[in-house]
Amino acid sequence: MDNTTRMTCKVFPVTSGVPGATGGAQWTFLTNHGHVLLCVARDPGSRLRDIAALVGITERATQRIVADLVAAGYLQRIREGRRNRYQVRPDRPMRHPVEQPHRIGEVLEALGGDDAGSPGACR
């Protein structure tokens, strides 16, 4: 087993001091699928290990999520030598009925996913 799969780098210390109604749970507006997609959109050449560290999940979980995103047609896998590069397909619709009128590209744009120079860009 690859040791790096257990390397979780927690980057989500919520220190807002605003306790949530359920005891200060660390909720966010995006799911891990959303976080991963945004990271790939910002930096298509980034490694899964780096995405895992930024999102705060394991590399194994990141692999599974990327596979989900590829299977759903959100990401296209492009082989480049020994590495994979992932390209976002912005024309795909959002999945949940509540957001279905929207294409993924619009949402990523609103989240700054098209701007590699944004403050939170994946490194």
Binding site: L30, E99, P101
Partner: protein, 97 residues
């Protein structure tokens, strides 16, 4: 589709969108649209409120919800995102449909 029920927005995200699009919506209807229980919606709204991302005002026997534009996404990777910018997109899409 892989058959698994994953989405890009969390339930907190879905609930926020519903409140932003329809400030007078009932918790019961939010629950139905998002696909979670009414109790879960209440908890999420309370968390959004205590984080200052949703304001609640009493109108007669009902609540009205306002989502201030200047709120920000919480994850470090998205904390530069203003809630208002994200919701502007959602509202535009709502008018279109």
């Amino acid at each position: 589709m892989t058959g698994t029920g994953w989405t890009l927005l969390s339930n907190h995200g879905h609930v926020l969108v519903q409140l932003a699009v329809d400030p007078d919506i009932r918790m019961r209807d939010v629950a139905e649209r998002v696909g979670i229980t009414e109790r879960a919606v209440q908890l999420i709204v309370a968390e959004l409120e205590s984080a200052g991302l949703v304001l609640r005002e009493r109108v007669g026997r009902r609540n009205r919800y306002t989502v201030p534009d200047q709120g920000r996404f919480r994850h470090p990777e998205e904390e530069h995102v203003r809630v208002g910018d994200f919701l502007a997109l959602v509202r535009a899409g709502d008018r279109r449909s």
